[in-house]
Symmetry: C2
Amino acid sequence: MMSTAPRRAGRPKRSVLDRDLIVRTAFDVLRRTGPEDFTMAALAGELGVKTPALYHHVGNKTEVLSSMRELITSGIDHSGFGTLPWLDATRRWARSYRTAFAAHPHAIALLATTPVTGANPTLSMYEAVTQGFLDEGWPEELVVSAIVSLESFILGSALDAVAPADIFDTGDFAEQVPVFTQALAVRERFLGREDDASYATAVADQAFDLGLEAFLAGLSASLERLRNRPGDATAAR
Amino acid sequence: MMSTAPRRAGRPKRSVLDRDLIVRTAFDVLRRTGPEDFTMAALAGELGVKTPALYHHVGNKTEVLSSMRELITSGIDHSGFGTLPWLDATRRWARSYRTAFAAHPHAIALLATTPVTGANPTLSMYEAVTQGFLDEGWPEELVVSAIVSLESFILGSALDAVAPADIFDTGDFAEQVPVFTQALAVRERFLGREDDASYATAVADQAFDLGLEAFLAGLSASLERLRNRPGDATAAR
DNA sequence: ACCTGAACACCGTTCAAGT
DNA sequence: ACCTGAACACCGTTCAAGT
């Protein structure tokens, strides 16, 4: 990339980098290299600069990663809360949440570790979702856990979407695990297999769809039971 | 550790290392250092040897990691399948699955990426779980997805269990997200907070318990509907 | 202010030399 | 066979020197 003549040292007449360009380019590099080989040198190379140039615009590598995180999160659609019925709003949110992260699977592990602080899209999302759950009648002391448990499923599913098509390769040991091997074969026949990439997607989608509907139905039922409990003691506030 | 006198070069009279010792020690080091600083040098240091000594017993770092993975997986209890009702067997499996990985949270990201091959405890687990789901009546073309979706929730939850107690720190921006901030406060009052570590555990447990029961109830309901569908066309085989 | 070039303290891994 | 010591090709990051 950027195969113009090499730049000499010294400040260029027109600056080549800015923070936004770095972050956007980071996604291309991460997708191509995977998390293992996602290095500051690779990022700089794609941008046509030397590695140290990056440090004029970002403090360190972690800062690049959390900027990426915010960009991903800002693509999650929580617009259903306040306009659609809870179930539909939650389903829409969950789907777009998983899609947002599945598009950048290598960034998933980030979410669990980097704290959510500051006036960012992530906090805004939680505000909207919490309000939506409360409106539906979720008790205030459980609402965060309900959201977090759904997130766990979503992120786990996004993680699953990263898995290679042949993650379950019983190979030479098929005879030792015949039931599992057979189930894998039936699934493959059922979903149809063209190429590895589309099959991996189909497989992950089937698990996500099945799980999401079950989870949402289960949450609805739990809420119904909470609503009807005698002498409700959790009506906080 | 191992603060005996430094060893001179050359083969020691009695060998100091073996593969099993390396893997067991790896858990101690990983727990203490976190995944970031989990280096071959740190592992060697804990074992009282120089780094290259490890390569007489393991091929590379990845091999150490996947050995750890197998050790974790072998601790997952799938004994309920075939002996207990499906719901109880699945609950027991899910709980022990999450516990096994929550005990080694830094190893979670491994599972999603490293393929499952060979005659290992992991394949045996899938065999038992698949059989258990089939016995309950899950259609063969959906059984793997049902298991995988549950696993997604479990692994996502284990990932959540890694999160620091203050992962949601609205901090200076509490006024901008009042509903979410209030919900966090009510949860804290409800669960009680002694120290950060135990609070983080309590918080993660609440979300997991709530989610697991909802998910299992939802899966049961889905299965019931699948069982009753008219002119059942999925009785594969 | 914003780039390069050189340097620093790491990393995982290889391999000859020692016993 | 199994350890050390030295080396190699990397990493992220710092900083002086150039424009």
